[in-house]
């Protein structure tokens, strides 16, 4: 028999994401957009039987607002999976959400220049 040293390394994710979601359908992105900020509600205790991912979210969100995209990035999970876990926590009342800032509208250059000129004449 050969030695275990001959084995090729396996680097794909050990726990697949559909196991983390438990095969549940994913929430739509309207619920928690990428830029939505989340943080832990005050005086909450970690739910019993929380998985490693939920515990990691708990630690990440304990210190202040963090966007959904950042939470997913730090966990190394696809955004949709992180969103499902965050939605669970939010439904249990553990998370506070703050709406994302509305998208800046594209203003044409001429208007911006007018504003700039106006401001310059005001401020001097």
């Amino acid at each position: 028999m050969t030695t275990p040293g001959e084995e090729a390394p396996v680097t794909s994710d050990f726990v697949r994401s559909y196991v983390i979601t438990g095969g549940r359908s994913l929430p739509s992105s309207d619920e928690l957009a990428l830029h939505t900020l989340v943080t832990l509600a005050p005086e909450r205790t970690l739910p019993l039987g929380a998985g490693p991912e939920v515990r990691a979210i708990w630690e990440l969100c304990a210190g202040g607002y963090l966007s959904v995209a950042e939470v997913a990035g730090h966990l190394g999970l696809p955004v949709g999976v992180a969103r499902l876990l965050l939605t669970d926590l939010a439904e249990q009342g553990h998370l506070l959400r703050r709406a994302e800032p509305p998208r800046a509208q594209n203003v044409d250059r001429a208007t911006l220049e007018k504003v700039l000129n106006g401001l310059q004449s005001l401020i001097g």
């Binding site: 001959e6 794909s12 726990v15 697949r16 990428l34 490693p52 630690e59 696809p78 999976v81 506070l96």
Partner: protein, 403 residues
């Protein structure tokens, strides 16, 4: 006297006597001849018997030689079949691994698109099952599983195993131990657990639960798989026990058609890596209870933090702590009086604008008055943008909508 001679009876008697003597003599001769023939025949028989024994011995030796040759031929055929299968499965294994790596990337890339993500996950699920089959056959043919770089918690090992079977959402995992399995044992234990879970879900009614309990025991950790099926009959139990305790190569052609690899794979991996698998006890739900006992030598010395240990350590090197936005207090603004028109007068918020950190260049521009007019304008515009953004962000919705 003459009367006697003349008596016919006497003559008759004489004739009879002579005939009797003749008869006796003849019988004696015949008897002797028969004895001789018998002796000859007996000798012949003895010879024949000896010949028969000799022939039988010959037949027996030919038989032994034949079965020996047959076994050799079988072993040759088996080993060459295994060699071919091993190499073919090796190719499939690496393709499956490549696909999973690709899917890891795609899942991240399309993470925000719910529908695409769900579809990718179902592709990933079939891929994982495919990979398990390829690995199983490879192991039986003397191939290897591939090695994980890091240790993994028993909970993650169980979840990884769960992901490799069809009905994974019937499985529930309860971990009463939080130890980690050494990197070399991570794949084999997950593989064996997946085979046991596959058996448990296949041989129990759809919809019935399958439970994995992970418990620490004095000699290591036990993964206990309980199903609610009908249990195994004696024949299956014997077959399982034989395959699980097999210490050597397994005859892959003797696994039936369609082949049932499960127990053979379990036995092979358990023997190779030094853990124990047993089935055959009855689960609390009336089905089968299967137990994997991983000895202490295959457990990592120190327990790792439960959350994605490998990833965390990889990230710590190059990423700083998450940059958080401080919560902005949203209270009623201070009413300091009323205007002459009767409207409330409000004092402006004095706190620093913490939501949007100012870029360093503009901060510098504010201090240096000798900056060019363009930069001053830029900094003012920046301040304007920050101000409007602050105005927008303070319009918050706090707390969950459902409450």
């Amino acid at each position: 006297m003459t009367s006697l001679i003349e008596d016919p009876l006497l003559w008759i008697l004489l004739v009879v006597l002579v005939a009797a003597v003749f008869a006796v003599l003849r019988a004696r001769r015949t008897n002797l001849a028969l004895r001789r023939t018998k002796k000859e025949l007996e000798t012949g028989l003895g010879h024949a018997q000896g010949r028969i024994d000799q022939l039988q011995g010959h037949i027996a030796s030919l038989g032994t030689q034949h079965s020996g040759d047959l076994a050799d031929v079988r072993a040759d055929a088996e080993s060459s079949t295994k060699a071919v299968l091993k190499s073919a499965m090796g190719t499939l294994q690496s393709l499956a691994e490549e696909q999973q790596l690709l899917l890891d990337g795609l899942l991240q890339k399309y993470g925000n698109d719910t529908e695409v993500l769900a579809d990718l996950m179902s592709v990933d699920h079939t891929g994982s099952q495919f990979s398990r089959r390829a690995k199983g056959i490879s192991v039986l043919c003397g191939g290897w599983l591939g090695r994980r770089e890091g240790v993994a918690t028993v909970y993650d090992v169980a979840r990884s195993a769960q992901g490799r079977i069809k009905d994974f959402n019937r499985v529930s995992i309860h971990a009463q131990a939080s130890v980690a399995v050494t990197s070399k044992a991570v794949e084999p234990v997950a593989m064996v657990l997946a085979e046991l879970l596959d058996n448990a879900t296949t041989y129990s009614a759809p919809g019935t639960p399958v439970e994995v309990n992970i418990q620490a025991v004095p000699t290591g950790v036990c993964f206990i798989v309980d199903d609610a099926g009908l249990g195994m009959d004696q024949e299956t139990k014997d077959r399982a026990a034989a395959l699980l305790s097999a210490d050597g190569p397994v005859d892959i052609t003797g696994l039936g058609d369609p082949p049932r690899f499960g127990f053979a794979v379990c036995g092979m991996l358990a023997a190779r890596y030094g853990f124990a698998v047993s089935v055959g006890s009855v689960s609390p739900y009336g089905g089968v209870r299967a137990v994997i006992r991983v000895p202490e030598s295959l457990l990592a010395a120190e327990a790792v933090t439960p959350a994605e240990p490998v990833r965390e350590t990889a990230d710590q090197g190059r990423e700083s702590a998450p940059q958080r936005l401080a919560p902005v207090p949203v209270g009623p603004s201070h009413v300091v009086g009323t205007t002459t028109g009767g409207l409330p007068k409000r004092r402006r918020r004095q706190g620093p604008i913490s939501v949007v950190p100012a870029p360093q260049e503009t901060a510098g521009a504010d201090q240096q008055t000798s900056e060019s007019a363009g930069e001053v304008t830029a900094s003012r515009l920046g301040a304007f943008a920050r101000g409007t953004q602050l105005g927008r962000t303070t319009n918050t919705t706090e707390g969950p909508d459902h409450q």
